[in-house]
C-alpha cells in the first residue's frame, strides 16, 4: 500500500511539474527589468563572460529527441551554442549585451502542434528565435511571429522564407538548389530527361518545383515522383526509376531513403545520375551496401561549403567545437547564426533594443559577414526581391571528414538567374 501511495505521489508531482504548476528554474522571471523588452535584461546572462553586461535571450525550438531530423538538429543546436559563446567571449553585442541561447531550448519532435505549444511557453521570455527548425513547424508559428515582430532564424531552406520579413534565412532555398543541379547536369552530363523523386511538402516539393522549372527552360522531359518517408517505402520510387530510366534523378528525401533508392536502382540496372539536396547525405552511408552506387552515381547539391572548407568561419567553427564527429549539421547551424548576430549588432547600435528594433535592424541589412562561409550578399534582407541563388555541388569522397568534397564551387545556373520568385515554389509544382 505504501509503495502504491508513493507511486501516486510521484505521479502527481510529475504531472504538476509537467503542467508547470511548480518548477525550479523560475521561467516567469527574466531578470527584474520590467521596462525592458521581452527577452532583454540588464542583469547578466546565466553563464555570463562579463557580469557587467545585460543579456539578450534567444529561443531555440528544434528536433532534439525523437523526430526525423534529430540527427541533424542536435549538431545544429550545439553549433549555435558554440557560436554565441564565441560572440560573448569576443565582447558580446555592441559591448552592452551578451546572448543566451541555452535557457530557452525546446524540443518540437518535428510536430507543428508541439512546436506551437513550446513556442507559446517561451515567447514571452525571448527577444527572438535563434533557431526554429523545420518548414511545416515554423509555418505553425509564422502568424504569431509576424503579429509580434519576432525575428527568427530558420533551420530549413524552403523558398517560402524569401517572402517573410521576420524570417532571416541563410543560403539558397531548395528550389534554387534543384534549378542549379539540373543546369549543372545539363552542362556536365548532357542529360535529356529528369525525374524528381521527392518527399511531400515544402522540402521535397520545393526542390521538385525547381527541377521542373529548370527542365522546362532547358527543354528536358520532366517526371515527378512523390515518395513517402521511410527506407522500406521506396519500392515505387525504385520501380519508376528503373522502368523509366531518366538521365538524371533529383532526390529530395532523407539519407536512408536516398541510399535505398540509389542502391536498389543501381542493383536493378540503372546507370543514370543522381543529385540529392543537402539533407540526402549522411557520411554513415559510406558504410552502407549502397556505398559503391553512391560513389558511382551520386552527387550532393548544397547551400554551403562542407565542414572542412578553408574559410575563417569554418576554421572558427572547428576551433569552437573540438572533439566532435564532423557533421554538416554543425556547419549549417553555425552559418545560420550570422544574420541574427548582424541584426542584433545593428539593433543595439541603433539604440532601439526591442522586437520592433530588431525587425527594423533586419530590414536594414544589405549584407552579412559570414566570415567566408557564404558570400556576403546571401544576407541581403533589405531587398525582399533579392533571392540568393548560389549553390555548390559536392561529390562523395571517403577521405573527407563528412564524406563529401566540393566539385563545383558557388555558382548560379541560367535557370535560377532568370527565374522570378513571386511565391513559394512548392505551390507551383
Amino acid at each position: 500500500m505504501k509503495s502504491r501511495c508513493a507511486v501516486t505521489y510521484v505521479a502527481i508531482a510529475a504531472l504538476l511539474s509537467a503542467c508547470g504548476v511548480f518548477r525550479g528554474d523560475d521561467q516567469g522571471s527574466t531578470g527584474g527589468a520590467a521596462a525592458q523588452a521581452p527577452g532583454v535584461t540588464s542583469e547578466p546572462c546565466p553563464s555570463a563572460v562579463d557580469s557587467k553586461k545585460g543579456c539578450i535571450y534567444l529561443g531555440t525550438i528544434s528536433d532534439l529527441t525523437s523526430g526525423p531530423f534529430a540527427a541533424l538538429a542536435v549538431p545544429i543546436t550545439d553549433a549555435q551554442k558554440a557560436f554565441w559563446a564565441r560572440v560573448n567571449k569576443a565582447g558580446g553585442i555592441g559591448g552592452k549585451y551578451e546572448v543566451d541561447v541555452t535557457k530557452y531550448v525546446k524540443d518540437n519532435k518535428y510536430n507543428p502542434e508541439v512546436h506551437r505549444q513550446v513556442y507559446n511557453e517561451i515567447k514571452e521570455h525571448v527577444l527572438g528565435l535563434a533557431q526554429t527548425l523545420g518548414s511545416p513547424t515554423t509555418a505553425a508559428i509564422l502568424g504569431d511571429l509576424k503579429a509580434n515582430d519576432i525575428v527568427a532564424a530558420p533551420a530549413s531552406w524552403t523558398s517560402a522564407w524569401e517572402f517573410e520579413d521576420v524570417i532571416i534565412e541563410t543560403g539558397s532555398n531548395y528550389c534554387v538548389e534543384a534549378m542549379n543541379s539540373v543546369d549543372y547536369a545539363v552542362d556536365t552530363y548532357k542529360v535529356k530527361t529528369v525525374m524528381a523523386v521527392h518527399l511531400a511538402g515544402d522540402y521535397g516539393a520545393d526542390a521538385a518545383a525547381g527541377a521542373k522549372f529548370a527542365a522546362a527552360r532547358d527543354g528536358l522531359t520532366f517526371t515527378n515522383v512523390e515518395t513517402p518517408s521511410g527506407a522500406t517505402e521506396q519500392g515505387r520510387a525504385i520501380t519508376e526509376i528503373t522502368k523509366n530510366k531518366p538521365d538524371l534523378v533529383i532526390l529530395t528525401t532523407g539519407p536512408a531513403d536516398a541510399a535505398t533508392i540509389i542502391g536498389q536502382a543501381a542493383a536493378g540496372g540503372y546507370k543514370g545520375r543522381f543529385i540529392g539536396t543537402g539533407p540526402t547525405w549522411n557520411p554513415a552511408l559510406l558504410k552502407s551496401p549502397a556505398a559503391p552506387a553512391l560513389k558511382a552515381l551520386y552527387e550532393q547539391s548544397a547551400p554551403g561549403k562542407p565542414w572542412d572548407a578553408d574559410t575563417p568561419g569554418h576554421k572558427a567553427m572547428r576551433a569552437a567545437l573540438p572533439g566532435v564527429t564532423p557533421n554538416d549539421g554543425y556547419t549549417s547551424g553555425w552559418a545560420w547564426a550570422y544574420p541574427m548576430k548582424a541584426a542584433l549588432d545593428a539593433m543595439v547600435a541603433g539604440g532601439n533594443v526591442s522586437r520592433k528594433g530588431l525587425l527594423e535592424a533586419v530590414k536594414t541589412l544589405k549584407s552579412v559577414d559570414y566570415e567566408g562561409m557564404l558570400p556576403a550578399e546571401a544576407g541581403n534582407y533589405a531587398d525582399q526581391t533579392a533571392v540568393f541563388r548560389q549553390t555548390l555541388i559536392n561529390k562523395v569522397d571517403e577521405k573527407a571528414p563528412t564524406g563529401v568534397t566540393t566539385v563545383k564551387d558557388f555558382f548560379t545556373g541560367p535557370t535560377a538567374k532568370a527565374h522570378t520568385f513571386d511565391g513559394p515554389c512548392f505551390a507551383k509544382l
Binding site: T65, S66, P68, A70, A71, L72, V74, P75, V225, E226, T227, P228, S229, G230, A231, T232, E233, G235, R236, T239, E240, G254, P255, A256, A259, T260, G263, Q264, A266, A267, N282, P283, A284, L285, K287, S288, P289, A290, A293, T325, N327, G329
Partner: protein, 295 residues
C-alpha cells in the same frame, strides 16, 4: 509476368518480416488479452543491438545474441511494468505498453546516434537469378528465416509442456491456473517470445537500408496484419503479414500504371484499406475466433 513474379517475391519477403512482428503481437494478445504497443521499440532495439554486436562477434552470432538480449529485455519489462497490472482493465495495460514503447525508443535512440546504423548483413543489395527472375537475396533470406521460425514456434506450441501451458492459459486462464499452470510464467514467456521475434524482424528491416531513429514506424504495419489475420490466430498473423507485404508490393509496382487516380502513394495506405475490407466482411479477421456475445 516476370515483373509480377518479382513483385510478389519482394512482397513475400517484406511480408515475412511483418509476419514475425504480427506473431509477437498475437502471442502477447493470446496470453494476456492485451495488444502490446511496445513491439516497435523492441524491433528497433533488436536491429540496433545487431548493428553494435556484428562488428564484435560477426553477423550470425550477433543476430542470435541480440534476439536473446531483446527477449531478456522483454521479460524484464513484463516483470517490472506489466505483471503488477494483472487484473486491471486491459485498456490500462495497453496504454502502459505505449509508454514503455516511448521509453525504450528514447533509450535505443541514444545507441543509434546521429547516423544510419548498418546491421552488417551479408546480403546487401545482392541479387540472385532464379530462372528468368532476378530477385534480391535478402528477400529470400527473410522468407527462409520466417519459415524456419514459424515452424519452430508451431512445434513449440504443439509439442512442448510450456507450449501446451501457453495454449491452455490462452484458452481459459482460471481453469489453467486451477490445473497448475503458472499463468505468470506464461505471461513472461509470451513477452520473451515476442521480444525474440521482434529482434529478428528488426535485423531484417535493417538489411540493405540500415537502422535510423524513425525505423520503428515499420512495425506499425503489423497492426493491419493482425487485424486481417485475426487477433488471436498465430496462423492468421503469418497470413496477415504476407497479405500486407504482397498487397503493398503490388500497389508499389502497378498502381501508378493501372490506377493513377488513386494518387501517388496509395501503397502506403493499401494495407489499411485491406484491413477495412476484411473488417467489413469478417470483423474477427480471416482466421480469428468469432466472438459470441450473450445478451
Amino acid at each position: 509476368m516476370k515483373g509480377l513474379l518479382e513483385t510478389l517475391i519482394r512482397g513475400l519477403g517484406n511480408g515475412s518480416v511483418y509476419a514475425l512482428l504480427a506473431l509477437g503481437f498475437v502471442i502477447i494478445y493470446k496470453a494476456t488479452r492485451v495488444i502490446s504497443f511496445a513491439q516497435p521499440a523492441l524491433m528497433l532495439a533488436g536491429g540496433v543491438a545487431v548493428s553494435h554486436l556484428t562488428g564484435v562477434t560477426g553477423f550470425y552470432p550477433a543476430v542470435l545474441l541480440s534476439a536473446l538480449l531483446i527477449a531478456g529485455v522483454a521479460l524484464a519489462i513484463e516483470r517490472v511494468a506489466i505483471r503488477p497490472m494483472v487484473g486491471r482493465p486491459v485498456f490500462v495495460v495497453a496504454i502502459i505498453t505505449l509508454g514503455i514503447d516511448v521509453v525504450v525508443r528514447v533509450v535505443v535512440n541514444a545507441f543509434i546516434g546521429r547516423d544510419v546504423r548498418q546491421v552488417g548483413d551479408p546480403w546487401g543489395f545482392m541479387q540472385v537469378s532464379i530462372g528468368p527472375l532476378v530477385v534480391q537475396t535478402r528477400w529470400l533470406a527473410m522468407m527462409a528465416a520466417t519459415a524456419v521460425l514459424v515452424g519452430l514456434l508451431f512445434a513449440f506450441f504443439r509439442h512442448t509442456r510450456y507450449g501446451l501451458a501457453m495454449r491452455a492459459a490462452a484458452f481459459d486462464q482460471e481453469t489453467a491456473l486451477a490445473q497448475g499452470v503458472s499463468v505468470g510464467a506464461v505471461f513472461a514467456l509470451s513477452w520473451g517470445l515476442a521480444g525474440f521475434l521482434a529482434a529478428i524482424a528488426g535485423m531484417f528491416v535493417g538489411t540493405g537500408q540500415g537502422i535510423e531513429q524513425m525505423t520503428w514506424v515499420v512495425a506499425l504495419k503489423a497492426l493491419p496484419a493482425i487485424i486481417v489475420g485475426g487477433l488471436d490466430s498465430l496462423g492468421g498473423a503469418v497470413a496477415g503479414g504476407l497479405v500486407v507485404g504482397v498487397v503493398e508490393s503490388l500497389f508499389q509496382s502497378y498502381q501508378g500504371e493501372y490506377a493513377p487516380w488513386l494518387g501517388q502513394n496509395f501503397a502506403v495506405v493499401s494495407p489499411y484499406v485491406v484491413m477495412l475490407v476484411v473488417l467489413l466482411v469478417r470483423p474477427y479477421g480471416l482466421f480469428g475466433t468469432r466472438e459470441v456475445e450473450r445478451v
